[in-house]
């Protein structure tokens, strides 16, 4: 484990700079400035408006045309894991596309309002570092926030969660993606997938967009292992799933990046949405409407103003893949060190039920690990997952599903996929040493046996 430190990056890394240069040559950017505005004839009261460039694809798109994108790696889902996976994949030099059904990155961290990611530390030491820590610390620094002191014993596990400004987080994530040369495809979802000789052909749709992605590797960061499901790989799903939570704030202004609760928990208000299911657009719609109705009822009951509302509930659980390794709660609570461990995780067993939640903390000194074999759907090739759909039982998943380990999984999956592209193989056949070396090169903490 790495010694406790709070590293706030001050400059671009070499890889970032390279990726940035590459990308500048082949992609268009938003252009900023009053000069463009003046030329366009659009009136503006200040110099902060932006215009899309004249040759922007979004201006000239032919709606009947299918766009074809050829990339090395397609990251499906731009949530906690997917965002980090995309940045990491881009930084290794692989041409990467991240596809996100919403209009911004971050997933549950931003859209779900769980804007207090954790846990990055265990027993006084930092256990998760790398791309995610760089993004979070930069976000906190820019927002004038504070990082927890990991050497201090947290009275409750959530005290070492890091309060971030969710809006700033996804803008910075977007910036890091573009700097790494990652193409972002918002409002799009895969509809069909076909195996090709050296990878995948994925047909996707968004509103007014039909896209065919030809890629070598897929990193499934959908949360519910949707790609694995589309391909027919077995998935695990508990009969009774944990509720989601719709987050909002009544009666006082939201202060992003800062604790809002007098009790110090720093949480927005939340109401359980029982039965919340993130499987498809219909179930998400239903959960969103149910959650918002509950907020409306609460407003009427308390006669308070609605000051903040997340765009959809935070989902805790849906499908999980079945990998060669299924992480059990015994593995998790005993801190089993898997031979093919690629990152640490740390969080109580935190199963939410209709009666609430009673987190069961891990015993002193215990730091669970996540193996590579729990990220690869059994029998698959050229497909790897990251995030809460990790192969695990429900209780283990209740601790693994939180952002820090999801982000760490994202970085590890991206390293494995990038190396697989490089060697022309599948992530499961990439030598573990190479994955570890690449992770360490990019600042991640690799589990070490004591």
């Amino acid at each position: 484990m790495k010694k406790n430190h709070h590293r706030i990056p001050d400059s671009e890394t070499e890889a970032e700079a390279e990726a940035n240069n590459r990308q500048m040559g082949r992609r268009n950017f938003l252009k900023f400035g009053a000069a463009s505005l003046a030329a366009s004839g659009i009136s503006s009261a200040n110099a902060t408006d932006v215009l899309l460039p004249e040759n922007s694809e979004s201006v000239s798109v032919d709606k009947s045309q299918i766009i074809t994108s050829k990339v090395d790696i397609l990251v499906v889902g731009g949530g906690s894991a997917g965002t980090i996976a995309a940045i990491q994949a881009g930084r290794t030099g692989a041409s990467t596309m991240v596809m996100e059904r919403a209009s911004y990155l971050g997933g549950m961290t931003t859209r779900g309002g769980v804007c207090y990611p954790g846990l990055f530390d265990a027993w006084g030491k930092q256990i998760i570092d790398g791309v995610c820590w760089e993004l979070i610390t930069e976000c906190v620094k820019m927002d004038g926030g504070t990082l927890p002191d990991f050497s201090k014993v947290a009275k409750r596990h959530w005290m070492n969660q890091i309060h971030i400004n969710q809006f700033l987080f996804y803008i910075l994530a977007e910036e890091k993606c573009t700097q790494a040369g990652v193409e972002i495809a918002y409002h799009e979802s895969p509809q069909q997938i076909k195996e090709t000789e050296d990878g995948w052909q994925v047909d996707c749709v968004g509103f007014g967009t039909q896209r065919r992605v030809i890629c070598k590797q897929i990193i499934d960061c959908t949360g519910g292992a949707e790609m694995a499901g589309m391909l027919g790989f077995p998935r695990l799903r508990s009969e009774v799933r944990q509720p989601g939570s719709i987050q909002f704030l009544l009666g006082k202004a939201n202060n992003p990046g800062r604790p809002t609760s007098d009790k110090g928990a720093g949480l927005l208000h939340a109401i359980y949405v029982h039965g919340a299911d993130s499987t498809n657009s219909r179930t998400v719609t239903e959960a969103s409407i149910t959650g918002r109705k509950a907020v409306l009822d609460k407003m009427r009951k308390t006669n308070q103003r609605l000051m903040h509302l997340q765009s959809e509930p935070g989902f805790r659980e849906s499908y999980r893949i079945q990998g060669d390794t299924v992480i059990t709660v015994q593995d998790y609570t005993s801190g089993r060190h898997f031979d093919d461990a690629i990152c640490y995780a740390f969080y109580p067993v935190d199963l939410h039920t209709k009666n609430g939640v009673k987190p069961k903390p891990l015993k002193p000194g215990i730091v669970p690990t996540i193996p590579l074999s729990a990220l690869i759907p059994k029998g698959s090739r050229n497909l790897i997952v990251a995030g809460r759909c990790v192969s695990s039982d429900q209780l283990a998943n209740s601790g693994l599903r939180v952002q820090a380990p999801c982000m760490a999984m994202g970085q590890a999956a991206a390293c494995a996929a990038s190396l697989a592209v490089k060697h022309g193989t599948t992530p499961g056949e990439v030598p573990l040493k190479e994955i570890h070396a690449l992770l360490e090169k990019h600042g991640a903490i690799v589990p070490k046996k004591n």
Binding site: W123, K152, V153, A270, H352, P359, K363
Partner: protein
């Protein structure tokens, strides 16, 4: 008859496990006996006066006082005899330092006996025992009850964490009602991923609740410090805090206390707060004050006297 009753109940108290009945009879007869002595002195005052002018009586008086002093100070042989008793302070609590260990016994109820057994480590010296405080907290970290603390110590300096926890105790108790009210008013908001707070400050609610529904896990906490144990990092190493969580709904007979950290104060919004920090490699011999600390809880109804 009074003599016989006192003698029998005294022997029962020594050889048998604690019994409230035995102690009650012994105490009550003791009071009657004291009253009888009073009457005896009053009725025979003149004879006693002439008797005490006698040298033999003076020697006897000195012997009686010496005997009482020996009992009070308990040198090793006396302690050895007393340790043969089956009734080692079970009425409430009892702390004892031996050559290589310290033990603490606490019985809040006849069917609930707690024993903490500290096996001495390489830094433990019985002739210079460490300062120690034992208390219980609820899961929210609030001090509920101090069970034991070393005598005549500068607690603020030597056992600062416990000292400040105890100082906050009354303040928290006053806030209890308000917090409870606040909690009730937000019953349909889930405090995401946070523990359910328990606002009770009554030790009974944790240790031996009459209402089983009120039963809640609690923590046995220990702060321990050896004065003057400097090392290359500290002039005097800080105290260390250990804890173990007890859940009567998931009973365990034996549990090991784990180190939590060392206390350090900081001023937040003009108020001094004490927090624990993970004990790193700068803490050396302080870790070796004891080799292991075991909590044993006997919940057996059979132990009921």
């Amino acid at each position: 008859m009074l003599f016989v009753t006192l003698a029998v109940t005294g022997l029962m108290g020594f050889f048998l496990p604690f019994s409230l009945l035995t102690v009650s009879v012994h105490s009550l007869i003791g009071f009657v006996f004291i009253a009888a002595i009073g009457f005896h002195i009053k009725n025979n005052f003149r004879k006693l006066r002439s008797y005490f002018s006698n040298h033999t009586a003076l020697v006897l008086l000195v012997l009686v006082i010496s005997f009482i002093a020996i009992i009070l100070y308990q040198p090793a042989p006396v302690k050895a005899i007393l340790s043969l008793s089956s009734n080692k302070g079970p009425a409430l609590d009892h702390f004892e330092i031996q050559a290589n260990r310290m033990t603490y016994n606490y019985s809040p109820a006849p069917h609930y006996h707690i024993q903490l057994d500290f096996k001495g480590g390489s830094s433990f010296k019985p002739e210079k025992p460490p300062y120690i405080a034992i208390w219980i907290e609820n899961k929210s970290g609030y001090h509920i009850k101090s069970l034991y603390h070393s005598e005549q110590a500068d607690f603020e300096k030597l056992l600062p964490y416990w000292h400040h926890k105890r100082a906050e105790y009354l303040k928290n108790k006053q806030l209890n009602g308000k917090k409870k009210k606040d909690a009730e008013s937000s019953d349909d908001l889930d405090a995401l991923s946070s523990a359910t707070d328990n606002y009770s400050f009554d030790p009974k609610d944790y240790i031996v609740p009459e209402d089983k529904a009120k039963e809640s896990p609690y923590r046995v906490m220990i702060e321990i410090n050896l004065s003057g144990d400097g090392n290359e990092h500290y002039e005097d190493q800080p105290s260390l805090v250990y804890r173990v969580e007890v859940d009567n709904k998931d009973p365990r007979s034996y549990q090991v206390l784990e180190i939590v950290g060392f206390p350090k104060d900081e001023v937040v919004d003009g108020e001094t707060k004490w927090s624990l920090y993970y004990a790193d490699e700068t803490i050396t011999t302080a870790r070796d004050l004891y080799d292991s600390a075991m909590l044993q809880i006997d919940r057996s109804p059979a132990s009921k006297p």
